[in-house]
Symmetry: C2
Subunit: 118 residues, 2 copies
């Protein structure tokens, strides 16, 4: 259907809007962007993204991430899943380890959206 062809993922949508402060955000755009912000809007996930982004090579192993928090391994795994499914983190498995990397364009687009032209 052409409908589904026109339907953009949240990650695609965020790159295609004029900034929040320029013109009213359309309802469907808002629905697409909100999940990205929702994924970021948690202290643990913010830190996860930050740790991953600041890591050498721009990626980090789950084992290292687990150690950075006083939370159970399933909880960290859950947060990483949320970030991955939102499109903020890439996931790659190497041997027994799983590495996550930040999709910087997505962060940049998000920033452009909320930051406006300023």
């Amino acid at each position: 259907m052409s409908k589904s062809q026109l339907t953009l993922t949240p990650v695609e949508t965020v790159a295609c809007c004029s900034p929040l402060v320029r013109e009213p955000l359309a309802a469907d755009r808002a629905e697409s962007v909100a999940p990205l912000l929702k994924a970021l809007a948690d202290p643990v996930r913010l830190r996860l993204v930050s740790i991953v982004a600041a890591s050498e090579g721009g990626e980090a192993c789950v084992c290292d991430l687990n150690d950075a928090f006083d939370l159970s391994q399933p909880t960290i795994s859950h947060h990483l899943k949320v970030l991955h499914e939102a499109g903020l983190l890439d996931r790659s498995k190497r041997g027994v380890w799983v590495y996550y990397a930040v999709r910087r364009e997505v962060l940049a687009d998000l920033a452009a959206l909320i930051g406006g032209g300023a």
Copy 2:
């Protein structure tokens, strides 16, 4: 106490951190920034902020905002309260009407935080 003097509000905190992607965000900073993102991370509130920001004079009356949504007046009032308490919207009463205005610096700081140097 010096402790409480060092404790910043979310709005203050967001302006004082190096970008997410530069160095790992400290836990307490993450706790401060997350509420701001949480406030934004809702389709209705995203649109509210956008509509207010794009309005003439940078402010909008609640009555106009109500008309822009298919939601009850208390619901819109609730969302505006969330945005106001997070520090994203300023509130000023003029006669019977209440006007909200976007605090652009906060948005800009948020954008700088998540957008990194890029």
